[in-house]
């Protein structure tokens, strides 16, 4: 147990030393790995933010219900009852007089409204369903459309649907991108480790001759690959933070233009740790493949 621990500590220390002893190579490899992880990492953070945006945009997922022009108090009461029973969420009745008043309040419209012989606007309900899933909204829309004296139901969720489809596509693209860059990371580690093995050929040969096990010889390379990957992951997290900081101001301004207050959410500690862990795993994988191949000639 003691020997096991001290051997692992020695392997880790030797991995650090090897990284440290070739600073230029190390920096270049870390940059390659860091950038390879930055793109998917940044994409992930961006998608995460967009999904929040989709979920939080209030007043967007609403259903407008327009009554027939000849609908009377009784009909309106009936609809109110049905909305209550359906318990769909918040709803508000907008009488045609109120709608007209609002139009008059708007400068551009006032003139037109004044020239009208009578109020052309219908009574309306604005429904804000609790369940804002696109599918649920669509079902609700169909149901309401079948109610008596309902002239038209408008679902303001067309863009929600499009947005959802876009997110799905973007997610897929992100996975593909991540897969490609992961393969790249494995390949980069594979190559660094291959060069390491060549550079350490004398040591490996001597160690073998005087009783080193395969595990003893491989261990420092695994640590090297994993360490390099983890450091690359941390570098990627740093780059993502940097990009978000640069984007924060323009995004804030854009949001303000639309009267909202939206700010990009930066990755948390768990996400940074995950990025480092993914880097470590891929680095370890590259080292594993490389060492298995490179050490064959020492048999």
């Amino acid at each position: 147990m003691n020997a096991w621990f001290s051997q692992h500590r020695a392997a880790l220390a030797s991995a650090f030393r090897r990284l440290w002893s070739t600073p230029l190579n190390t920096v270049l490899s870390l940059l390659v790995i860091g950038i390879a992880l930055t793109l998917p990492g940044f994409g992930y953070v961006l998608l995460d933010n967009l999904r929040d945006l989709g979920n939080n945009a209030s007043g967007v997922q609403q259903i407008s219900l327009f009554m027939n022009l000849d609908a009377d108090k009784k009909d309106i009461g009936e609809i109110e009852n049905r909305l209550k029973q359906a318990a769909t969420g918040k709803w508000r009745f907008v009488p045609k007089e109120e709608a007209l008043k609002r139009m008059q309040a708007s400068e551009d419209m006032a003139e037109i409204v004044a020239s009208l012989p009578r109020n052309p606007l219908p009574d309306a309900f604005i429904v804000e369903p609790t369940n804002s899933e696109p599918e649920a909204l669509e079902i609700l829309r169909k149901e309401i459309a079948g109610w008596p004296k309902v002239a038209h139901v408008q679902l303001d969720s067309a863009w929600v649907k499009r947005f959802d489809a876009f997110l799905k596509l973007a997610k897929l693209a992100l996975w593909m991108l991540a897969g490609i860059f992961a393969a790249g990371l494995v390949a980069v580690t594979f190559n660094t480790i291959r060069l390491q093995v060549l550079a350490q050929a004398a040591e490996i040969e001597v160690a073998r001759m005087i009783g080193a096990t395969d595990a003893f010889i491989r261990r420092p390379f695994y640590y090297y690959g994993a360490l390099q990957g983890a450091l690359g992951g941390l570098l990627a997290a740093g780059l993502v933070f940097g990009a978000l900081t640069l984007l924060a101001e323009p995004v804030g301004e854009l949001a303000a233009l639309y009267g909202g207050s939206f700010s990009l959410r930066a990755p948390g500690a768990i996400e940074v740790a995950a990025l480092a862990a993914i880097g470590a795993f891929l680095g370890w994988l590259g080292a594993q493949l490389s060492v298995s191949l490179s050490l064959r000639k020492f048999d």
């Binding site: 020997a3 096991w4 001290s6 020695a10 040591e203 001597v206 073998r208 001759m209 005087i210 009783g211």
Partner: protein, 217 residues
Amino acid sequence: MIVASNLSKRYPGGYEALKDISFEISAGQMVFITGHSGAGKSTLVKLIASIERPTAGSLVVNGQNLSALRRSAIPYVRRHLGMVFQDQKLLFDRSALDNVLLPLQIAGLPRREAIRRASAALDKVGLLAREKANPIALSGGEQQRLAIARAVVNRPTVLLADEPTGNLDSDSAADILEIFAEFHQVGVTVVVATHDQSWIERYHPNVLRLDHGRLVA
């Protein structure tokens, strides 16, 4: 300690370097393997160190039959053996002390204990003052002594050397020989391959004389 029965080694090319050899070396003996160049001395040393495998017969070292050894068991057999190679195989990317530390790192010794032992081994071969030197900065005789320190630092039961005085002048060679004699005196089994006859006249060890792969004495 080392028992060979009808041992043969045929190299992949088809050349038979050792032919039907039988001998027994008991614990604590000092044995020289001699013979002309190409007689098979290095081959026999490599078989004992399980660097090469016998193609026929059996070779038992420390109770382990090397012909029937699993690949994964080889490292542990080698650890009981102190090996001094014909070309020394020192590592020139680290200090003398770090060269001697390598077998102890392989064995997984705690660093403090390892350094203590490595220093003791360097002291034994008279190199303690040069522990920080790179082996490249050492003389031929000093390099050979460093190789011996690395071979004995793990306190092996068998010390195995191939031409340890190959390129040394006679004074340095005598020093090396004296070191082997000292290990022999404290009970280590010493096996040395050499074509240097002067050794034999001086120490009267047991001799395995090879001639074209056959044992003649």
